[in-house]
């Protein structure tokens, strides 16, 4: 019933918040022809829960046009419900579809489905695939039911599994160890409450080495530089913190009280993070933060004037050093289709792309 209600509330949201329209909109490519894909960007859109409208969109950078729902057009079937994460490995892209209990493996060159890997437990129940991490030989997938699974990227089969904490939100690799944020988010309104740990897993033995206490409701986690990872600890959303962990000692290093929703790594000392002030101004923020400093001071990332106001709800952030581009996905009002805003590493606005619902992740095709 909770889920029906959730769906109902989505439906109830029959009026969208309004937003300024942007200039430089991309064209929608309706005459898409199957075949090898040109240079461009893969954009994963989560879609709206219960609507089966997750999509993998493709931006053609030569023609400045978008193929909406490339996966459906190539494979004559929808991607699924709630595409949570994707990762590339050699010629493949692996897409974790949370509600569809699936990892879709596609060929990066043409978007064709190579294999669908069901992510079910022994009783046939959805584990809810969440996020990926990869080293040179193996993919690791954390699942909401509290596990990390090996996925062999060559044989496309599931290998060993290891139990971690409650409702893992994100996973990253550092110093040859896996770090998993255990949010416990599905117990938020029960007496037990949020989980507050980061699990450390040895990928060689696939065993949990230890749990690090980081505070309630840890979320996104990424390697900042060799031997250092950063994570967002959301708590009850009123006192969000950014924390760092030394992966040589597996100890917490720093804790900064900065409200943020998502982040990516800009360089050895700086992250770019996003936030929306939902309680007061409703303003979006995209800021650079130096985590090696001892202050919580941040500076604006976007240097082109008039652009930040056009981003309504920054949702995902992907920084590509090699491409000299930063992709900020805008979920807008979470009920209408989203956009991707593209900047260079200096924060100069380049262009934006109209995409599907709740865009979150970008992969570059060169």
């Amino acid at each position: 019933m909770r889920k029906i209600k959730f769906l109902l509330s989505i439906i109830l949201l029959s009026i969208s918040l309004g937003f300024l329209s942007c200039t430089d909109d991309t064209d929608i490519d309706t005459n898409y022809q199957e075949g090898n894909l040109p240079k461009g960007l893969f954009i994963l859109c989560e879609g709206l829960y219960g609507n089966n409208n997750s999509s993998l969109d493709f931006y053609n950078s030569d023609s400045n046009s978008v193929v909406l729902d490339l996966f459906n057009k190539v494979n004559n079937q929808g991607l699924g419900d709630t595409g949570n994460d994707m990762i590339e490995f050699n010629d493949y892209i692996f897409i974790a579809i949370k509600e569809s209990a699936t990892v879709q493996v596609i060929n990066k060159n043409n978007g064709k489905l190579v294999k669908r890997i069901p992510i079910l437990n022994n009783n046939g129940i959805n584990r809810k695939p969440s996020r990926f991490a990869a080293n040179t030989s193996m993919l690791y997938l954390c699942t909401v039911d509290g596990y990390v699974l090996e996925i062999n990227p060559f044989t496309l089969s599931i290998g060993r599994i290891v139990k971690v904490g409650r409702n893992p939100e994100d996973i990253c690799l550092s110093n040859n160890k896996l770090y998993i944020t255990n949010s416990g988010g599905l117990d938020f309104n029960s007496p037990i409450g949020y989980d507050n740990t980061v699990s450390v897993v040895d990928p060689i033995t696939m065993t949990e080495i230890m749990k690090i206490d980081v505070g309630d409701n840890p979320a996104f986690i990424k390697e900042l530089r060799d031997g250092l990872i950063g994570l967002i600890v959301k708590g009850d959303y009123s006192n969000i913190k950014f924390k760092t962990i030394n992966t040589l000692t597996d100890e917490l290093v720093d804790s900064f009280e900065i409200p943020m929703l998502n982040f990516d790594v800009l360089d050895k000392n700086n992250i770019v993070y996003t936030n929306v002030d939902y309680f007061e101004s409703m303003e979006s923020k995209i800021k650079i933060f130096n985590f090696s400093s001892n202050t919580t001071n941040s500076v604006d990332f976007v240097s082109t004037p008039g652009i930040i106001n056009q981003i309504t709800a920054p949702y995902g952030i992907n920084i590509s050093i090699s491409n000299n581009e930063v992709y900020i996905t805008d979920a807008r009002d979470f009920i209408t289709s989203g956009k991707v805003f593209v900047f260079d590493l200096q924060g100069n606005y380049k262009y934006n792309i109209n995409v599907g619902y709740l865009p979150s992740k970008v992969i570059i095709r060169n």
């Binding site: 969208s16 937003f19 219960g50 609507n51 509600e99 569809s100 416990g184 309104n189 959303y237 929703l261």
Partner: protein, 669 residues
């Protein structure tokens, strides 16, 4: 347990006829014929000027439905949101206003759910329903509770009440239905005349289905996308309803109606058809118990008093055996209570002019022991002062409604108080006893529900009521020829303009799992409802009835000119919808055909191809035959629903059943 109940019912089926053999009965046929004539004449004594749409007992009897939710789609201006199957949630939205703006009134007193603000019509089985009628705006009746005036429209459900010959004391109808997907229904409706004052009526109804219906899962919106044939799982339903009514008629000026109602259901919630994975472990239990009384006393020719009382207890238990929580399941329980009293008095000032005062006091309470907000309470006082001038040609009806609501919850120590005045005005005129023209204006609101206020965590206290304004022009032509076996025609046209302001919507707060509810936006609504009713007595003893409805609704979001959804049709409101009912009655056999049509809709606010839900139509037929036994009358009916096997969805990813068959037997004792 279930089997036991079934066995008991079978026993009742066997025993009851034997008991009734002892009863001396007149010719039932002639009695029934009389009833029809009486209701016909009463209905047309004065032409009603309200904008309304109704389904009468003939239609309810002729078409095969399980719940009131199945019937509502034949009412002009109504969109039924149907999640499919017998246990699927069925709520109505009238003229683009949203389900929270409709009052559902069951035998004179409102049915409420303060948690969601929406009444699930699948909980009301159609087996004992005499009539349902939707009043746009409100009914003109002076002796009604203020609560019936406090919504944008009122949906009246009226149950069957038996009439007795002077010699009769006992009347029973037994009904049983079997159908596709292991559907079985057993019903008993038994009336007993205790003495000249009191009559009792017991109605029991039991429904069961596996709900395992086939559907086609489409993996995409394009014609060449893959499909797979699936069976709906975890869609079973078991429901039991019992009602005991006592009618007391002390003299021509004093009467009382008492009702005790109990409903229990257990159902699987099959969830939306997610691609590549469907495995729902969600179940829902519902329990409803209420007592109600309506007491009317006419003090003299001018002064009349009525009192409405109700006490309600409801329990909902949601359980998900496959939830990924610490406990390995999710289990939520909700308890709702309501205590309700209404006093209404009307006074005839002069011949055609009356006034009335109505006051409702309502106490509502919601408890949910295992959620972060464990209880919320609401005390409401509604007072309405109404005037009615009616000289059978000209009618003027006006009222002003004052609402005071006080909320208390775990969330805050200070009570939340809302006050509101709402006006209503209607004018009507009837020409030559056949053409009626009427106009109404109504300004009303809905309070935020307990879910809006307390179960979404953030920013609740700033929430204002959602406002609606309605302007309606009603034209009706009615002509009846002759006195006995009258051919008649009734055509009505409504043109309306509605507006919704401060719409209450949920928006995600920080992430998709924390939502807050805010007042945002405006909806602009323009529409037309067209209804026709036609009855003719044809040669060869054929009695023909034709009823049709057509609705046009242009319901658009006008919140923000810059938005991509500006002037987009609001989700789940079709521009075009309609229905047709044809009944051919012959002494030998009875044939009914129903058709309903819903045009294209969108599942999300953006009117894109991707969000399009395809139009659908539903054709159903019923053939029934009366069989006269020695002393009893029996009726056998055969139905085919969704004759063409249309594969469609009303709500996205909630497939509806395809072709279904049902057979039913009725015995009148």
């Amino acid at each position: 347990m279930r089997i036991k109940v079934l066995i008991n019912f079978l026993l009742v089926l066997i025993i009851v006829p034997n008991i009734s053999y002892a009863q001396k009965l007149d010719s039932i046929r002639s009695t029934l014929l009389k009833e029809v004539l009486i209701s016909d004449t009463i209905r047309r004594e004065s032409i009603q000027k309200e904008s309304s749409s109704r389904i009468d007992n003939t239609m309810i009897e002729k078409i095969e439905t399980i719940s009131v939710g199945d019937l509502a789609k034949y009412i002009a201006g109504v969109n039924v949101k149907d999640y499919g199957g017998i246990g699927g949630l069925k709520t109505i939205s009238v003229r683009g206003l949203g389900s929270n703006h409709s009052a559902v009134i069951y035998d004179g007193i409102s049915v409420t759910d303060f948690q969601t603000g929406q009444v699930d019509l699948s909980k009301f089985s159609s087996s004992n329903i005499k009539e349902i009628r939707l009043y746009n705006g409100q009914s003109y009746s002076l002796l009604q509770p203020a609560r019936a005036l406090a919504s944008s429209n009122a949906f009246f459900i009226e149950t069957i009440r038996p009439g007795f010959d002077s010699t009769e004391r006992f009347k029973t109808t037994l009904k049983t239905t079997y159908g596709s997907f292991n559907y079985a229904n057993l019903g008993i409706n038994s009336a007993f005349k205790i003495n000249n004052i009191w009559t009792s009526l017991l109605d029991l109804d039991i429904n069961n289905t596996s709900g395992k219906y086939p559907y086609l899962l489409r993996y995409g919106n394009n014609g060449n996308d893959s499909t797979s044939k699936e069976i709906r799982k975890n869609s079973d339903y078991f429901g039991f309803r019992s009602e005991l009514n006592l009618f007391g008629s002390f003299n021509s000026s004093t009467d009382i109606k008492l009702k005790a109602y109990y409903f229990y259901s257990e159902r699987g919630l099959p969830m939306s058809t997610t691609y590549y994975y469907t495995n729902s472990g969600q179940r829902l239990w519902d329990e409803n118990f209420f007592l109600q009384s309506i007491f009317t006393h006419k003090l003299n020719n001018r002064l009349e008093y009525r009192n409405h009382l109700k006490a309600l207890y409801s329990f909902t238990h949601y359980y998900d055996s496959k939830a990924i929580t610490f406990l390995g399941y999710q289990s939520d329980t909700y308890y709702q209570r309501e205590y309700y009293i209404n006093n209404v008095g009307s006074y005839k000032i002069c011949k055609n002019f009356s006034t009335s005062l109505s006051n409702d006091i309502i106490l509502n309470n919601l408890n949910s022991p295992n959620l972060f907000i464990s209880s919320a309470q609401r005390v409401s006082s509604l007072s309405a002062w109404s005037f009615l001038y009616d000289n059978s040609k000209l009618l003027i009806n006006a009222n002003i409604l004052n609402t005071i609501v006080e909320d208390r919850s775990d969330l805050s120590t200070t009570p939340l108080i809302k006050k509101h005045f709402s006006p209503f005005l209607s004018l009507g005129y009837t020409f030559k006893n056949s053409i009626t023209i009427s106009l109404f204006y109504k300004d009303i609101f809905r309070m935020p529900t307990f879910n809006d206020l307390y179960f979404n965590r953030v920013n609740e206290s700033k929430l204002k009521p959602e406002l609606t304004k309605q302007l309606n022009l009603h034209l009706e032509y009615f002509k009846s020829l002759g006195f006995y076996k009258t051919n008649s025609i009734d055509i009505s046209l409504d043109i309306y303009h509605n507006k919704v302001n401060d719409k209450i919507i949920a928006v995600p707060q920080r992430n998709l799992f924390i939502w807050s509810v805010i007042n945002y936006g405006q909806v602009d609504i323009n529409g037309i409802d067209l209804q026709t009713m036609f009855r003719a007595y044809l040669p060869y003893s054929i009695d023909l009835r034709v009823r049709s409805t057509y609705s046009y609704q242009y319901v658009v979001d006008i919140s923000n000119k810059e938005s991509v959804t500006y002037k987009n049709q609001v989700p789940y409101t079709p521009k075009h919808s309609g229905s047709l009912f044809i009944n051919l009655k012959h002494p030998f056999i009875d044939f009914s055909y129903t058709f309903s049509f819903v045009g294209k809709r969108y599942s999300l606010p953006q009117n894109t191809e991707r969000n399009l839900l395809k139009p659908y139509q539903d054709h159903s037929i019923t053939i029934s035959k009366d069989i006269n036994l020695k002393k009893q009358k029996m009726n056998i009916g055969l139905s085919c629903l969704n004759l063409l096997g249309e594969k469609y969805e009303v709500v996205i990813n909630y497939p509806m059943p395809q072709r279904q068959f049902r057979i039913n037997f009725k015995i009148y004792l």
